[in-house]
Amino acid sequence: MITRVLAVFERDLRRMLRNPMTLFGAILMPLVYLIILGNSLQGPIERLPLGVVAFDQGPEAREFIGALQALERGPKTVRLVRETDAEGALASLRRGRLAGFVVVPPHFSSDLARGRNAAIGLYVDNVDAVASAALVAAVTATLPAVKSPLARFERHLGPAEVRPQEIYPRVDYDTSLVPAVVVMAIFIGSMLAGGFNLVMDRFLGVHESYLSTPLTRLDIALGVLGSGTVVTMASSALVLSAGLLLTGGRVHGGPLGWVALVLVLFLTTFGLLAMMMAALGRANHPRVGQMLGGFLNVILFFPSGALYPIESFPAWLRVVAVVDPETHSIAALKAILFRSGDLQAAATSVAYLIVFGLAMAALAVTTLKRTL
């Protein structure tokens, strides 16, 4: 049996190695993701053009506009544009020259001085939800400045502040994407080495030729699983190395950290490859493989917390995240790479990956025994 399994293993390995463009794509695509995502999703929103229409020159109104100017010069969230009237500002907003504008009404300061409610109008282009939310948050945050100097003067209070203390070395957004990119490389590798190879061989009648020899379905499944694991682990290791090189990250925890890293890469590869083989066990046309591959990528990658914290998800998506193997793989890799080699933090995730891998391998073998 070993001879037969090794023959399938070697055949698949040779085929993959003789298609360097496919392998190159499997490595390059996750790295492109790292660069594109790293630069498109990270960082504060800056220089949103905000129109200012001021009908009041009183002290509170000046205080408010001063706070906006501080926002423009400090965090640079907004770029202030003087407007003379609300109609003109609205027209500019509609034409896309402004992201929003504020209107300070004529009696703003005097109403506040008399203890009445006074409101500043903020008009936003809410088509871009993220930019408009950022603008509302930034403008709202300036309001306390209208009264705070007076409050400090009357009560003689010192300014309170929060000093964040990070317990691990600083991880910037680019670096934080490395585990996600490695997991994506494993997914793509599994799809190419396991899923697509299996579907193409069935489509071309290769399995039928195999099964007219003493080769069993189990031999085929184990051979494909073995060759796919080797190729996918190698490509993901290259992606990890390039990712760490690009971001300046490093593996913590000494030799044990490296062992843990290889273990997580292996478990993730094995689990995703077996899952792919089980999912594509019945597919008999390459188009089905492509469609299913794209679908699985979306439902596994985005809920994994790779790009955004799971805590922000609705309840149903959190359930998806909990069973998603990529969630656990990313969590384990983050623990090894970013938590100074705190391997205990990865223990639960590693345990889940072991269970997931065994379950998927059993499912793949059972499925392929029936469908090959």
Partner: protein, 332 residues
């Protein structure tokens, strides 16, 4: 002689559709046996059952002495299969393709190298052994796959439409190879084809299969002899043939049928070579001159028409039409 293939009432159903209907078949050791029939006749399904790739719904079959239903592993070790689709790996060399399959059969390393070399030389691919199969022509790939089917020295080789899609020269090369394997090595070969000339040129015996049933079995000569008036004589006269002349010629012994067409007489006879001189002599006696004469022998195509009432090409067209009509309109 013992039987290499012994099938009794072998049937394959797919739901209500009967693809192979109670087929009885015996192929002797050392025979080159042809399964002939149009596409969709059930040839490939029958072969798939005999090679253990498809379940037998009912009936029983023994191939190379192995009960197909009971011992699939022993069956696979005893037979070689060359499928219709070209399945050799394009990204591997010719040598590597054979090496991988030899390992599937667990051929020991020392014997493996010698066997691969022997086969590559035999199929005239030795010089190209190190080239990727993607650089091979269709004929070369087919030869490689025949070599692949022989890698473990099987007792019986199944070939499914081995020359489909090949140019005439490549077809001839494959024919020569099969003749050599059959004649030189006394290998039992089961050949599936819908090419009449191929079956006629290669096979010791042929089974004609239609609508899942074996409708005739015999050597090509026996099958052709079973058609009354198996030879056709086409005689051209110096002027229009009269009805009386045609009637007189039709009365000659051995003439089965005569048709008159202007200056031509088309005569169907059992033994054309013997009848032709007599026919010319009788026509001359009637004061007429024969300006041209030709004789053609009945082909397996004629046998097929005689047995099934339609030509094999009609059958192929009908099969493809049936497939088309089963598709939704937007795909047709």
């Amino acid at each position: 002689m013992s039987a290499a293939i012994e099938a009794q009432k072998v049937t394959r159903r797919f739901g209500d559709f009967v693809a192979v209907d109670a087929v009885d078949l015996t192929v002797e050791e050392g025979e080159l046996f042809g399964l002939l029939g149009p596409n969709g006749a059930g040839k490939t399904t029958l072969i798939r059952m005999l090679t253990g790739l498809s379940r037998i719904t009912s009936g029983e079959a023994f191939v190379a002495g192995v009960d197909v239903r009971r011992d699939p592993v022993a069956l696979r070790r005893a037979i070689g299969v060359v499928p219709q689709a070209l399945t050799s790996d394009l990204d591997l060399t010719g040598w590597e393709n054979l090496d991988i399959y030899a390992r599937f059969f667990e051929v020991p390393r020392q014997r493996r190298r010698a066997r691969i070399e022997e086969l590559l030389r035999r199929v005239e691919l030795w010089e190209r052994r190190g080239d990727l199969v993607s650089t091979y022509s269709g004929g070369m790939r087919r030869r490689l796959e025949i070599a692949r089917g022989l890698i473990h020295r099987p007792r019986l080789l199944f070939l499914d439409e081995p020359t489909i899609g090949l140019d005439p020269q490549s077809r001839r090369t494959i024919w020569d190879l099969l003749r050599e394997l059959h004649g030189g090595d006394s290998l039992t070969i089961s050949l599936t084809t819908h090419y009449m000339d191929e079956a006629e040129a290669l096979c010791d015996r042929v089974a004609i299969i239609d609508h899942g049933r074996v409708v005739a079995v015999g050597s090509p000569a026996q099958l052709k002899a079973s058609v009354p008036g198996s030879d056709t004589l086409d005689v051209t006269l110096d002027g229009p043939a009269s009805e009386e002349l045609a009637a007189a010629m039709g009365a000659l012994p051995g003439v089965r049928r005569i048709d008159r067409e202007d200056a031509r007489l088309v005569v169907r006879a059992d033994d054309g070579a013997r009848i032709l001189p007599r026919l010319v002599e009788a026509i001359t006696r009637e004061g007429r001159t024969v300006t041209a004469a030709a004789m053609s022998r009945v082909s397996l195509e004629d046998v097929f028409i005689q047995i099934t009432g339609r030509s094999i090409r009609d059958g192929r067209a009908a099969a493809s039409e049936a497939r088309r009509s089963s598709l939704p309109r937007r795909f047709t």
